[in-house]
C-alpha cells in the first residue's frame, strides 16, 4: 500500500482533473484509472454561471480524495492565501504546493517553495511540494516538515518523460524512506512504468490522459503501467550488463567438441 501522510492508498496513480474534453469523459477516466486521489484547483467564480459548483458536485460523486493545488501562484503570499482558501473549500489539510518561478518551463521557484512550505507546515497543512529533482531543495523541504516530495519528470504538459534520470535516481537513493510522487511531464504509460520500476512510489498524471485521443482508454493504460512498474520493482529487476549472457543453457549444446 502507498502511504501518504498516514493515508493508505491501493492505487499508485494520482490523476489531474483539468483539460478533459467533457465532464463525462473526466468521470469515466477517473473510474477507469482506479485512482483514489485527484488534484483540483480554485479559480474565480462568476456569480451566474456557477461552473465551479457543478464541477465540485461531479468530484464529490466520484468518492475520491482530493488534493488541491496552488497552480498559477507565482509568489509565496499568493500560494499561502490560496492554500488557506483551498483548505476551507475542500475540507482537507492536503495541499499540492506550487510556486512557479519561470513562465516558459513552469519550473518551480524552489526558494519560494521552501519558504511557503515552511509556513504551511507550521500552519498544520500536509504539504505535497511540486519541486525539481534538486537534492538540497528536497532536504530543505523535508526539514520544513514535508512528508512527501513531488519532483517533476519534465515541464508540466510536455510529455517528455523522466528527463533527468540520473538526478531522479539520486534523489530516490538519498531519501529511501520518503514517499516520492513523480509529478508533471510524463507522456505515455511506459514513462509511468519506468518511474515505478526505479523505485518511485507513485505518479501524478493529467495532460497525458486528458489530452489523449481517448482519455478513458489512456487512463486505464496508465493504471496497468503503474501496476506493472510497481510489480517489477517488487520482483527485483536484473542489473543491466554490457555483454550478452546466454539465456539457453550452454551445457549439452550439439555439434561442439
Amino acid at each position: 500500500m502507498l502511504e501518504l501522510y498516514r493515508t493508505s492508498l491501493r492505487s499508485r496513480l494520482l490523476l489531474g482533473t483539468a483539460r478533459y474534453p467533457s465532464p463525462a469523459v473526466l468521470t469515466e477516466a477517473v473510474r477507469a484509472s482506479g485512482c483514489e486521489v485527484v488534484t483540483v484547483s480554485l479559480r474565480r467564480e462568476a456569480g451566474a454561471e456557477r461552473a465551479g459548483q457543478g464541477f465540485w458536485s461531479i468530484i464529490r460523486s466520484l468518492g475520491v480524495r482530493v488534493l488541491p493545488n496552488t497552480a498559477g501562484c507565482h509568489s509565496v503570499k499568493e500560494a499561502i492565501t490560496t492554500a488557506h482558501m483551498a483548505r476551507e473549500v475542500f475540507g482537507t489539510t492536503w495541499i499540492k504546493l506550487e510556486v512557479i518561478g519561470e513562465h516558459d518551463t513552469l519550473q518551480p521557484d524552489v526558494f519560494g517553495l521552501v519558504e511557503a512550505a515552511t509556513i504551511l507546515c507550521r500552519d498544520g497543512f500536509e504539504v505535497f511540494p511540486y519541486t525539481t529533482e534538486d537534492l538540497v531543495v528536497a532536504e530543505r523541504l523535508l526539514a520544513a516538515g514535508c512528508g512527501v516530495l513531488m519532483p517533476w519528470a519534465a515541464p508540466i504538459g510536455s510529455g517528455r518523460g523522466l528527463n533527468n534520470l540520473f538526478a531522479l535516481k539520486t534523489l530516490r537513493a538519498h531519501f529511501p524512506q520518503v514517499p516520492i510522487v513523480i509529478d508533471a511531464g510524463l507522456g505515455v504509460p511506459s514513462h509511468a512504468a519506468q518511474a515505478l520500476e526505479i523505485g518511485f512510489d507513485a505518479v501524478l498524471i493529467n495532460t497525458a490522459v486528458a489530452q489523449a485521443g481517448d482519455p478513458v482508454q489512456m487512463a486505464a493504460a496508465f493504471a496497468r503501467a503503474v501496476e506493472a512498474g510497481y510489480g517489477a520493482r517488487v520482483a527485483g529487476p536484473i542489473e543491466p550488463r554490457d555483454l550478452a549472457a546466454p539465456s539457453t543453457p550452454v551445457i549439452g549444446t550439439a555439434f561442439r567438441g
Binding site: T39, V40, F55, E78, V89
Partner: protein, 65 residues
C-alpha cells in the same frame, strides 16, 4: 462604494463581506474568499467590514492538475 470583485469593479451597498457575497449571488455557493490578498474564513465573513477600493477574491472549486 466601489470594490473590485474578481478583477471587476462593482458598486455595493453592503458593509460586510457576507452581505456583499449575497448581493452578488454567491449566497449558498461553495466559495472561499480573500480581501486584499488575505484569506477571510467563511465563519467571519459576517463580521468582516468592507472598505472602498477593497480587492475581493471569490474562488470556487475548479479543474486542476
Amino acid at each position: 462604494m466601489r470594490i473590485l470583485v474578481n478583477g471587476a469593479w462593482r458598486e455595493t451597498a453592503g458593509e460586510q463581506l457576507a452581505t456583499v457575497l449575497s448581493e452578488l449571488g454567491y449566497g449558498d455557493a461553495v466559495v472561499a474568499t480573500a480581501i486584499n490578498g488575505e484569506f477571510v474564513a467563511a465563519a467571519v465573513r459576517a463580521n468582516t467590514p468592507i472598505a472602498e477600493g477593497d480587492r475581493i477574491e471569490v474562488l470556487a472549486p475548479m479543474q486542476g492538475g
